[in-house]
Amino acid sequence: MTSDRPVSTPYTDLPPSRYWRSAVADRHPLDMEDLYSPRFPIGPADRIAVAGSCFAQHVGRALKASGFSVIDQEPPPEDLDRRFAETYGYGIYSARYGNIYTARQLLQLLKDSQAGTVREGDFWTRDGRYYDALRPSVEPTGLDSLAEAMAHRSKHLGKVRAMLERTDIFIFTLGLTEAWRATGSGVVYPTCPGVVAGQFDDETFAFVNFDFVEILQDMIEVRTILKAINPAMRFLFTVSPVPLAATASGQNVLVATTYSKSVLRAVCGSLCNRFDDIDYFPSYEIIASPSTRGFFYEPNMRSVNPHGVKHVMQTFLKAHGVKAGAGAGKDGKRQKAKGKRSAGKSSDNVICEEALLEAFA
């Protein structure tokens, strides 16, 4: 027996954005709706700290250009050429910590900054020069001595501490699950020893591929530390849509990438479900969705092209009621000028030591 009465289910009367066909398949990828509804507003008065993997560099630049108060706790000297400054890690993130690819790396930085911990073992050498293994890209030619390198790190940690004390919104882009750690100290590094500096030795360093539980625990601890500094701090997490340059997992790099991004995305979802002060912005979905057919990627199918970056940031800014490049922050005039320079920026300008692994392909 059938009934003419329509059956009511949880799927009845859902808006078009909840159905794949109407939300994705039948829409142009530049014209999708309801991809992101901010959990809390972010305004020009909120002091924002930005950190994360390479893709986070775009986020910081776009926010600055659009008038948000992005903290720069270690700004470059005023007269320094911008490109030179960026090569030395200035003006990329809210302090000169370089790319932070993993949750564990972020957690280490927060703990080290709070305790002022500088470990001698975290400095590697190459050609007689000393490199901070926790941010090897910020001094591309290294430093003269271990003492100097340790002094730089100590200063940097002080800056990170000061940055966190000013932060209202902490934006973090999770990039990788894979990392290399020192077997003795357990410290995790952003690059494999031997890529930028140092020497690989399988007794001293071990590969680690963090799983969901480990990353979730790390991120919860990150939140706890940051909340202790500023109980009102809120968080915006994203997942980098940039695939792995290489994997040491023993799997095909595509499979390893899917694992990595899936775990990171799942952690973000879990964090959002647990905490009201954590929001997730779907930059990963915007770039990597099947609907875009890869057209937001450069021909290497890895780097996100300027159109992709622009679209991601426009989606973010539109959701927050801000026009891209509006430059209307506290420091509006200067930010607008910087924004001008940022317009049309190629993805080539992103400082990404992970990409160095391609040289080993």
Partner: protein
């Protein structure tokens, strides 16, 4: 062979002019001196192959020191630019905030210390950026672009070693210069000037007139003259040099130019 040389500079040109009075019997060259002191030097412009004054005051200095209204660059075999407002003390004021590790004392190493630590590479580039932005660099570049056959830049003299007699410094850079790292600081400065203005155009002060590689021997500053002063050398003036200095540095410049293939 007799050459026509124009020496253009700020107050530091006085020492060279007096030095030339001692030297000119040994040379067939014709030297002309244009002195425009202090901030008025920035009111000189280089246009249509000429150095001209753009204000009444700078015009007055043209008349007073050279008895002309403009310097046609093509009339000279070489132009020597003196100081032109670029100096180590002013440039290194950046050390008020930015310092490389080797310029910190132990007490400044804590995270709360007042200085921002930069690597030597960044520090060197920062000093070079200051030089690049200077009027002196722009002036020298324009002169060479607009027809001067040969251009030589003489940096502002390093401060007198009398600075070491002082126990307190109103200028912190002077304190650094007289300290253990003065030589390194001076070296970074001159390297930057040479990098930006091209080393073949820059006359470093001869090593033998320096004390600790960072100060000019006080023998060359006592009794110094300034372009705009008839009075004796003021005791507090550590910047200006005397005729001995002028003669010595000018002689070195003429030797350098004699080996320059750009002489007409």
């Amino acid at each position: 062979m007799a050459r026509a040389i124009c020496v253009i500079g700020n107050s530091h040109i006085g020492a060279l002019k007096l030095g030339w009075e001692r030297l000119k019997g040994n040379y067939d060259h014709q030297l002309s001196f244009l002195g425009v002191p202090g901030a008025h030097f920035r009111k000189l412009a280089v246009q249509d192959g000429k150095v001209v004054a753009t204000t009444q005051i700078s015009q007055r200095y043209f008349s007073k020191t050279m008895d002309t209204e403009a310097i046609a660059l093509e009339s000279y075999d070489a132009i020597i630019v003196v100081a032109a407002g670029l100096g180590l003390l002013k440039t290194m004021e950046l050390t008020d905030r930015w310092r490389p590790y080797w310029l910190l004392d132990d007490g400044a190493l804590g995270a709360s210390a007042e200085f921002d630590l930069v690597s030597t590479k960044v520090f060197e580039e920062l000093v070079a950026a200051k030089v690049r932005k200077s009027f002196a660099h722009k002036f020298v570049s324009r002169i060479s672009q607009q027809g001067a056959a040969a251009v030589l830049y003489m940096p502002t003299p390093l401060p007198s070693s009398d600075a070491k007699l002082r126990t307190q410094y109103t200028n912190p850079v002077l304190g650094l210069l007289t300290g253990a790292k003065g030589r390194e600081l001076a070296s970074v400065y001159f390297d930057a000037v040479e990098k930006v203005m091209r080393s073949e155009r820059v006359m470093r002060p001869p090593a033998h007139i320096l004390v600790d590689g960072a100060m000019t021997d006080s023998r060359y500053s006592r009794g110094s003259v300034r372009l705009d002063s008839e009075s004796d050398h003021p005791e507090h003036d550590l910047q200006h040099m005397n005729a001995d200095y002028g003669a010595l540095i000018l002689e070195a410049a003429l030797d350098r130019l004699a080996g320059n293939s750009d002489w007409r």
